[in-house]
Amino acid sequence: MMIAVLASSMSMLGSTLLPISGPMAAVNWHSVLFLLFAAVACACAVAVVLADNVVRMAFYLVLSLASTAGLFFLAGAEFVGAMQLMIYVGGTLVLLVFGVMLTAQAPFVAIKTSSSDRVLAGMVGAALLAVLLQAAFRVEPWRRPAVAAEAAPAATPIGMALLGVRVDEPAAGVPAAAVRSGYLLPFEIVSIHLLVVLVGAAYLARAKRRRTPRAIDVAASSVGPVVEARQAARSSASALVSGGGR
C-alpha cells in the first residue's frame, strides 16, 4: 500500500517536473529506490571491512543498517523496518559506539591487520560470495519479476501472531489445511531471555570495588592486637571442643 502510494507519487512528481521522454517514462521508481538503498547498504558494509579506524567502522555500520531498514520498507515490511531503525540503529549501535568510546585509547583506535591476512580473507570472502550468488540466481521463480500484490499493513497481524492468534491470510503456495501456529511460546522465551541478558550484562559490566593488598595490610596492622586476641580465643575454643570430643 505504502509502496504503491510512494511509487505513484514519485512518478507523478516525475511527470510534472520532468519533460517525459520515452525512456524516463518507463522508469520503475520502486526499482530505483531499491538500487539506491542496496548500493548504500553494500558499499557501507564493504567499507566496514576495509576501514581500520574503529570509529569510522561504527559510522559505516550505522549507514548500512539504516539503508537496510529502507530495503525493509520497500519490501512491504513496515513494522520490521521501524523496529530495525529503533532497536538496531537507535539502541544496539549506540551501545557499540559507547563501547568504542570507552575503549578508544590511542593504540586501539586503529589496529592494523597484516596484508597476508587481508589477501587470504579476501579470497575466502570471494569464494563464499560466489557460492551465495550462484544459489541466489539458481531458483527460477525467484528471478521472475514480481506480480502486482495488494497487502495489508503488517503491524496488527504481527501483534496477534505474537499473542498466539493468526489473523493473516495463508501465504500463497501453502495448503490451506496446514497448521499455522502462533508465536506465543517464542515470545515468552524471548522475554525471559531479555530479562536474563539484562541482569547478566549489568552483573558483568558493574564497577568493582578496588581492594588492593596494600589497603588490606594497612587494615590488618591497625587492628593487629584485636586479631591476635581473637585468634587466641579461637584456638582455645577449638582445643576445648576437640578435648570435649575425646
Binding site: 566496514v48 555500520l61 538496531y88 551501545l95 570472502g125 551465495l132 519479476p145 503488517a154 501465504a171 503456495g173
Partner: protein, 130 residues
C-alpha cells in the same frame, strides 16, 4: 533536471535499463543479503579489535534478516513462487531482538576484558583459552 533527463538514458541505458524499468524480485534482495553476509564474515575473521568482531556479527545477522524479509514479502514474489508470509517478518523481529541481547552481553564481556587486560586486541587474549 533537464540535463539529467537527457544524460541519464544515454549513459545508463545499456547497463541499467533492465534494472530501472523492471520490478525487482527476490533474487535482487538475496544478492544484497549475500554481500552483507560475506562482508560480515570477512569482518569477523579479519578484525583484531573486539568491537570490530562485534560489528561483523551485526552485519551477518542483518544479511540473514534481509533474506527473511525478502522471502516474506508480498511485493517481490514471482508467479508460482511460495512465500513465507508473516512468518518471515516475525522471525526477522526475533533476530533483531536476539542481536540486541547478544550485543549487550558481548559488550559487557569486552569491557570486562578491557578492565582486566587494558587492551581490546583479541590476539592478546591468549590466557582466556581454557
Amino acid at each position: 533536471m533537464n540535463h539529467l533527463a537527457a544524460v541519464l538514458p544515454s549513459v545508463a541505458t545499456p547497463l541499467f535499463a533492465g534494472l530501472l524499468s523492471s520490478p525487482v524480485g527476490v533474487a535482487h534482495y538475496l544478492v544484497v543479503g549475500a554481500i552483507l553476509f560475506t562482508a560480515g564474515v570477512v569482518c569477523m575473521a579479519l578484525k583484531r579489535n573486539a568491537l570490530g568482531v562485534l560489528m561483523g556479527i551485526e552485519l551477518v545477522l542483518n544479511g540473514a534478516n534481509v533474506n527473511f524479509v525478502a522471502f516474506s514479502s508480498p511485493y517481490l514474489r514471482g508467479e508460482g513462487a511460495a512465500s513465507l508470509g508473516l512468518d518471515g517478518q516475525v522471525i526477522a523481529l526475533f533476530v533483531i531482538l536476539l542481536a540486541a541481547a547478544e550485543a549487550a552481553v558481548a559488550l559487557a564481556i569486552t569491557l570486562n576484558f578491557y578492565n582486566n587486560h587494558a587492551t581490546v586486541d583479541i590476539d592478546r587474549a591468549e590466557d582466556l583459552k581454557g
